[in-house]
């Protein structure tokens, strides 16, 4: 968790929470499912030296509002983030997304190419290599697993630990950050609503758009990510013209925990 409480902006009728640091070219950090802005905490001090960094809590996550009658799907999140960056007064900025946030990055680049200077996808979802929604609500294996994990702390901790290569880096404090949303019935509902809102058609529909994007793309993959296949990163690299692919060893799904320094270096190199 960041030390200071987050700032909030009213976007499309709901509060979005975010942490803002540093000065320089704007850089937006977007988390994925099961996490929120805390996942960037190791990177932010370094990145904020040369950038104005905003780490946001997506709607339904962290300290943002948790409405159940709004979609937390990729398309709606793109619209909210566009409104947020406009509200922040940003011109073109760099967009860094992890996991589902990586999917949001792709969709944002396709929908708002002029808003982005750079796009970075870290262990991101793409194409149809992830839950297909909504065929049978809540009954796909990944969703069932997440649902169980929301109630069963043991299962939840196992999911977190499987996502980290250097498991010793998962301190109690870090685990507490992961677990926090699952501590309340409201948080659990929002989490499940997030999972339920996911629809891979939000990304399968932009396959062509990615092939023709002119936004510079960096694709980073933790080579030990057990949740998302290496094929996702490789296909993105193949299909997005001019994109760069970096595969980092000894890094799991939560690569920010395993290799924060390496990640900063790759980002700085790409954004320079």
């Amino acid at each position: 968790m960041f030390q200071d409480p987050p700032q909030k902006l009213r976007i499309q009728g709901h509060d979005l929470a975010y942490h803002r640091f540093g000065q320089g070219p704007p850089l937006l950090l977007v988390h994925g499912i099961t996490t929120y802005s805390f996942i960037w905490q190791e990177l932010v001090p370094e990145l904020a030296r040369r950038h104005e960094v905003v780490a946001v809590d997506l709607l339904g996550c962290g300290a943002s509002d948790l409405p159940l009658d709004e979609s937390y799907g990729i398309r709606s999140q793109v619209a909210r983030l566009e409104a947020l960056t406009q509200a922040l007064g940003w011109g073109p900025f760099a967009f860094v997304g992890h996991d589902i946030g990586g999917g949001i990055t792709q969709r944002f680049a396709v929908d708002h190419p002029d808003r982005l200077t750079h796009a970075v996808v870290i262990n991101g979802v793409a194409y149809d290599f992830w839950p297909v929604q909504p065929i049978i609500a809540m009954r796909t294996p990944i969703i069932r697993q997440l649902a169980m994990a929301s109630l069963d702390l043991g299962a939840f901790r196992a999911i977190v630990k499987r996502g980290v290569f250097h498991r010793e880096r998962v301190t109690d404090a870090l685990m507490a950050d992961f677990e926090r949303p699952m501590a309340t019935r409201e948080g659990r509902k929002a989490f499940l609503h997030f999972a339920e809102s996911l629809d891979n058609r939000d990304l399968t529909s932009i396959t062509e758009g990615l092939r023709s994007t002119r936004v510079p793309f960096l694709i980073i993959r933790g080579m030990d990510d057990v949740y998302l296949s290496g094929e996702i990163a490789r296909k993105l690299h193949r299909e997005i013209p001019g994109s760069r692919l970096v595969e980092i060893p000894e890094a799991g799904h939560f690569i920010q925990v395993d290799q924060p320094g390496r990640l900063v270096r790759e980002l700085e190199a790409f954004l320079a």
Partner: protein, 730 residues
Amino acid sequence: MREEPESREALLERLRVLGEENAFLAERAEEIALLGLVAEQMEADLEPEALLTAVLERICIVKGIPFGACLGGAGAEPPVLASYHLRRPERAEAADRFRLRPGPVWPPARAQALEGAEAGLLFERMEVARPGLGPAALVLVPMRLAPDGLCFLFADDRRHGADLEPLLPVLERVADLVRARLAHLALVAELQELTRTLDAKVADRTRELRLGEARYRTLFEHVPDGILLVDADDEGQFGRIEEANEVAASLYGYSLGELGAMDIEALNEAGSGAGLEAFEARVWRLKDGETVREERVQRRKDGTTFPVEAIGTLVRVAGHPYVLGFFRDLTERKQAEQLLLASQRTESLGVLAGGIAHDFNNLLTAIIGQTGIALECQEPGSPGRTHLERALEAAERAALLTRQMLAYAGRGRFTLQPLEVNRVIRENLGLLGAAIPKQVQVELDLEEGLPLVTGDLSQFQQVIMNLVLNGVQALGAAPGKVTVRTRATSLDGGEGDLWPLGQRPLPPGAYVGIEVADTGCGMPEDVRSRIFEPFFTTKAGGHGLGLSAVQGIIRGHRGGLAVESAPGAGTTFRIVLPGAAPDLPAPAPSPPVTAVSASRSVLVIDDESYMLEVVRDILEGAGHVALLAGSGEEGLELFGLHGDALDFILLDLSMPGIGGVETLRRLRALPNAPPVVVTSGFAEEEALAQLKGMAMSGFLQKPYRLEALLRLVEGMPGRPVQAPKKGCSF
């Protein structure tokens, strides 16, 4: 023999079977996980509603069912005890309603999954507070054996009843777990309630007992008598004090702890003998309800004794016999009785002294009058004259004695005026100078600025004189000192008791204190206690009236008198006199003696014939006319005959028959009554008190010299003086 490779179809078939196996195992794993999650909630310390909500949430999340509720078993609209809706915000009100159709059994006897249409046969209305839950498949899971007919209800808007059918076994097991837990919670709650009630009852009872104990303890401690509870069981610790109150402890001078370990015997006066034995015999033979009461003498820890009234009664505490003894200290009562006796004695002595003085005054009036007349009839230088003069002097001294007796009796002459105490003392000591031997030093220690006191000057002089002379006499021939000291002082509410002179304590207020102390031989207690008694004296030639007169005078002045003395330690008399009321009128000046200018006709009414005679002799000797009446009745009769010729009437107050007071009243009622001068062997104040406000024209205190009578008679308006009837005139 080479094995034929499996055909594609066979492989696909094996894959399909494995897939089904896998799905089945996944379901089983999920069910076990669900039971684990539910069991976890059973361990948590949750109230029934929270428990039900937690269980519903776990079923809904794990099984992907959007809505679950727990309904009660009663009524057409079973109450919703708890509910969970996956898509309903936590803060939204869960106003879910279910209305049963008449007919079907509720809750259902077994778990079942229903299609939306079938659900309609059971429920007339289903309102789940969240728009969007469309036509729903329903799962009903009754809690078996639950006394209040609870039933789980789940609704799913995406699956069919048949899809939900496989969930029934695990849901039934969950329901069993919950029912057991709820029953347990109900028992615990009941137990807690019982414990709470019991605790409250115990607390109430304890409070009551404490209150009762405190009440009786207060009673026990605040009874003004000493209380002892004494073991009266022959087979127990017979005679041992089991309980005592603080009053008893302070009465006997022991601590409560000491008393509690003592035998009652130790409190008896040593050597009380047969009387004690008889009393004890009565006490130890007491029967239930009997009481003994007796005055006894008891012994304190320090060995001193004191009188008590002892009351004993037999009581039983839990069947064990005790004598409950009440001990009332009679010391004060006895002292009060002694004081009362002494006071009554003093009072009767006063009455006696007053009566004697009164009669003596009458006799002295006659003696002085007749001697005076005889003296006037003697030629100057005749030998009888000296004897008559000595007789007159002796009669005057006798008159002084009667004055002191009257003063003691509080019936002396009494003219109130504001007095400066210091001045009276200084003047008086000046007069006394000759009577004080050289070896005696009289020291004055007078505080200036004292308040005035109200009193009779001559009586007050008498007090000072008596006390100082008393001190001088106590010194005898030895050199010594008499100190007269005055101080302004005041008495507060409690101090008035310290001056035990009158019947009542002195009221609080400003006083003047006078102290006469000598360094003489002092007095032993037996003398000290009697010095104020009239006719008690230790001096050869003393008549025993000096100090009793002082006492009478101080009492008459509403003051206080005390004496401290011990053999060899001198004697100190202390007097306190109330400060004067500021508005006391100054005494009227004595009327001047008027010149003899007229003859008077006087009606003399007195029951003593010698009085009549002496008055007649005096008046007639001076050329006046005296009509004599031996009683009030006779006086009134004479007045009826000669009223118009009378100039005034001399009336004695103390007479048999209708008496002086009634005579005066009747005389005053007559239209032509002349002035009436009252005469009495008592003082004027007493005469005034007897007259109760009736006016008189003058007062003549007996004994009086003939000059005093004549001055009075001739001060009245009347006829010219005629020649005396007899040979000798004056």
